[in-house]
């Protein structure tokens, strides 16, 4: 069938390069290995960086007329809009799209230039050695409770698209007043959302708006952390991948997109403590599958428009 033909064509291309910001290096390496195992003869090279670096590299490549990457996986919604505008992407509709978790479908590009391949959640997290499950906040508004004064940790929307999305969502739910109240608790503001994990482990803060995957991975090691799926909704992050128009290995790229959505691929992700996007693959222990919980999310348009706004508001309110 089609997959076979793609594989044959990909073998002629020998290798593909994947610019990714979706996971850490080990996960990226594991996914590449899994891909190579499934499709011997096609080499998978990953360049794992932050989203901004990935985008800058791509931008410089485009400027210099270098065709290096075939697949790009950024976490920043804005990048895709811009890449689409600038015509850097080529359309492809993976066969495995049928197995995508339904909640993610709306993130796919109507023109098939990019599709959702990774997911994550922003949750309430806390240190279990200081906070008992019953005391722990249940919903986002609980974080503004004065009993957490000086003990809350959040990220900064100026440094992290993840945090930016969360802020946009909170503003959508409760208006900017939510953050004005939060400021009364003098939250510790870290750079990325992952900084909250460090803060909790150090007990410098004891509750936080944190990421699901990293918190659960740390918990899996035995650190005294736990997550709460807020009653008013866990904020869902979806990140897409796309194939570049000037991809040196377009067939291998397509094959790779298939793999990212495939069961095998998602099982590799789960082993690495990532949330799966394939609806047939179960999440890791300690977490719930996205289907089981209430998730909330802004639309891509809201994100794109909202993030620059909330950055300014955030600065107004928190002073940085």
């Amino acid at each position: 069938d089609g997959e076979k033909a793609l594989y044959e064509a990909a073998k002629k291309e020998k290798e593909l390069t994947w610019y990714t910001a979706h996971y850490n290096s080990e996960t990226a390496a594991a996914i590449c290995q899994g891909f190579e195992k499934k499709y011997p003869g096609v080499k998978c090279n990953y360049i794992r960086t932050t989203a901004q670096v990935a985008y800058q590299r791509l931008a410089q490549d485009q400027k210099a007329g270098i065709a290096q990457a075939s697949v790009i996986s950024s976490t920043d919604q804005g990048h895709y809009t811009k890449m689409k505008q600038d015509g850097w992407l080529q359309p492809y509709k993976p066969k495995n799209l049928t197995e995508l978790v339904d909640a993610f479908r709306s993130f796919n590009d109507p023109d098939d230039l990019f599709v959702a391949t990774a997911a994550g959640l922003v949750l309430i997290t806390y240190n279990t050695s200081v906070v008992s499950p019953s005391e722990a906040p249940k919903k986002w508004t609980d974080l503004t409770d004065p009993k957490w004064k000086n003990k809350v940790s959040i990220g900064h929307p100026g440094f992290s698209g993840y945090v930016g999305t969360w802020v946009v969502q909170m503003r959508k739910l409760y208006g900017w007043d939510y953050f004005k109240k939060l400021e009364l608790n003098k939250p510790r503001i870290g750079r990325s959302i992952n900084d909250t994990v460090t803060m909790l482990n150090a007990k410098e803060s004891i509750v936080a708006a944190g990421p699901s995957a990293t918190t659960l991975e740390s918990r899996a090691k035995g650190n005294p952390l736990a997550v709460v799926y807020p009653e008013d909704g866990a904020v869902l992050m979806v990140s897409a991948s796309g194939i570049l128009k000037n991809a040196p290995a377009p067939n291998a790229a397509k094959l790779f997109m298939e793999y990212l959505l495939s069961r095998e691929g998602n099982e590799v992700m789960v082993q690495q403590h990532q949330d799966p996007v394939n609806k047939h693959v179960k999440p890791m222990a300690g977490g719930k599958s996205i289907a089981e919980i209430k998730t909330i999310r802004p639309t891509p348009a809201e994100i794109e428009k909202g993030i620059p706004e909330v950055k300014e508001q955030f600065r107004e309110t928190f002073g940085i």
């Binding site: 850490n24 670096v53 400027k63 811009k82 650190n223």
Partner: protein, 558 residues
């Protein structure tokens, strides 16, 4: 007829210009480029400096930089003096601790300090409240003072190594002349010995100041929670979507003026003064006898290295051997899993380690060779307007890595040097980025050599190049070995340019470490840090054996 060596000098100058001007010119160009149209504009500068917030961040950076560099003098100079010129015991330990400080990834140090002096749960505060019953402790790492301390702890090794190499070359007769005139050991040190090392101290000060401005890691962890921005945190945001690369370039360019200003200042302060301590008439170095004071000095050295190394090391050890570091000390929490993971399981580590060391070593050799040659050209005025080369050689340091990386990327994916995808792009980027460290060191060291030592080689028929190789370099070898470390170690942990320039097969450790710090995977990070510290300290100490004996110490002194 002209000096044949001139060709060599011109070639080296050309190389310098290629390495530095090529990427910087592209940034400069970008800073005047309209983001959309590409037309010439001053708008980027208006955007960068038209907002008080950005200016304020810059001021914060300057204040923190000055304070940190000042603190480095307080930390580094007495230690360098103690190790180089006194009979203080435990020098090996102190030297190892300084090395360890320098090698320890800066993120680990910062986290360790958060654990120690965090206002809510820091150990120091808990001890304080435990002892006094007070409600809160006095220490708050989340403050400008805290940031200054962390930066100083992390960068005082520059001061130590620079000053020590200079002090190593000063003949004891210079001090003897003062003490026979009745000056006490302290006065002799303050009035004679240290002023002779002034070029090195000032050089280190400049390096530290510039480094503090360009540093991102520690400020990101400490400045933001402390609710202030510095220049690099501002810059970082400019790369968030929608990226404003041109504004970032415009924001960084004025830093070059700061570099120029500092070197002009140094030039003025040094003026006509001489610092020749190797006169060509023998001269030896004897250790100052401190009597009971040597224990006081050792105490001070241990205090500083405790701040910078031993205490953070306790945190690192705890985390490296912990199943879950958040659970604190406990027998049931001990494991070797992290170390095993780093050493054996993590597939990428091995190749990345090899790459890291090879690239860093190659970059250090290039940087050191080039720096020594350029410093020599400047010092001996081999070409007209040589002083301008100083500014060129120093320029790469003050531009924050994230911005400079763009310049590198642009420079090496376009003519005349297309290196994209090769290891050379990383090596040259590292060499360029840390050239200023090597340059400052060479510049200071050269002042301590009587030019007649080279003259003597030349009149016997040796070219300048030979004189440099056979006389100058061996004379400075201990200092150069120190400079090598100062370039090598930062090169092993350089992230900003590495993450931009690496490709498959040229991955380096810093990128792996970044993952771990980015996701707060502290146990593995600590293990990697521990392995780095132990491995590199051992390597360096062994390496110093090979450098050979310290020729100013008499072999036969009693």
């Amino acid at each position: 007829m002209k000096d044949r060596s001139l060709l060599v000098w011109l070639l080296l100058i050309a190389l310098l210009l290629l390495l530095v001007i090529n990427p910087l010119a592209r940034l400069l160009w970008a800073s005047f480029e309209h983001p959309e149209t590409g037309a010439f504009t001053l708008g980027n500068y208006a955007a960068a400096y038209g907002r008080w917030r950005n200016v304020e961040a810059l001021i914060n950076s300057l204040v923190v930089g000055l304070a940190a560099a000042g603190l480095c003098i307080v930390f580094g100079v007495p230690m360098a003096w103690a190790v180089s010129r006194t009979d203080m015991p435990g020098k090996g330990l102190v030297w190892a601790a300084v090395l360890g400080t320098f090698i320890m990834p800066n993120y680990l140090g910062a986290v360790a300090w958060i654990l120690m002096a965090g206002p809510n749960a820091g150990w120091l505060n808990r001890i304080y409240t435990g002892l006094t019953g007070a409600a809160a402790g006095p220490f708050n790492i989340y403050s400008k003072a805290g940031l200054v301390l962390v930066i100083a702890c992390y960068s005082f090794p520059y001061m130590f190594v620079f000053t020590r190499s200079a002090l190593d070359l000063i003949s004891s007769e210079m001090e003897d002349a003062a003490s026979t005139l009745g000056a006490s050991a302290l006065r002799t040190t303050l009035r004679v010995t240290l002023p002779l090392a002034l070029p090195a101290i000032m050089g280190a000060f400049i390096v530290e100041f510039l480094e503090a401005i360009a540093l991102f890691g520690a400020p990101a962890l400490i400045a933001l929670p402390a609710r202030f921005q510095v220049m690099t945190t501002m810059l970082w945001q400019m790369f968030e979507f929608p990226p404003r690369l041109q504004v970032a370039a415009a924001y960084s360019m004025p830093l070059l003026l700061i570099t120029v200003f500092l070197f002009w200042l140094q030039y003025r302060l040094i003026a006509r003064k001489g610092f020749v301590s190797l006169t060509g008439k023998g001269g030896e170095r004897r250790m100052v006898r401190l009597g009971p004071w040597r224990w006081v000095l050792l105490g001070y050295c241990l205090f500083v290295t405790s701040l910078s190394f031993f205490v953070p090391m306790v945190v690192v050890l705890q985390a490296a051997f912990a199943k879950a570091w958040g659970r604190g000390f406990g027998w049931d929490n001990l494991t070797l899993r992290n170390l095993r993971f780093v050493l054996f399981d993590q597939t990428a580590t091995r190749a990345a380690t090899v790459n890291t060391f090879v690239y860093a070593a190659a970059a250090s050799v290039i940087a050191l060779g080039l720096a020594l040659a350029i410093a020599y050209i400047v010092a001996r005025r081999l070409v007209p307007l040589g002083r301008a080369l100083t500014y060129v050689a120093m320029a790469p340091f003050v531009i924050p890595g994230i911005v400079l990386a763009i310049g590198f990327y642009a420079a090496y994916t376009a003519k005349p040097l297309v290196l994209y995808g090769t290891a050379w792009i990383l090596i040259l980027a590292f060499a360029t980025r840390f050239l200023p460290i090597a340059y400052t060191n060479s510049d200071a060291s050269l002042r301590s050599i009587n030019p007649e030592l080279e003259d003597a080689a030349r009149i016997l028929g040796g070219s300048r190049v030979l004189a440099l190789r056979r006389v100058v370099a061996p004379l400075l070898k201990r200092g150069l070995a120190g400079a090598f470390i100062l370039v090598f170690i930062p090169a092993t942990r350089e992230l900003s340019s590495a993450i931009f320039l690496y490709t498959t097969g040229t991955q380096v450790l810093s990128v792996l470490l970044f993952d771990k710090s980015d996701e707060g995977n502290f146990e593995v990070l600590a293990s990697m840090g521990l392995i780095l510290v132990v491995g590199t300290v051992a390597l360096v100490l062994a390496g110093f054996r090979l450098v050979g004996r310290d020729f100013l110490l008499r072999r036969t002194a009693s």
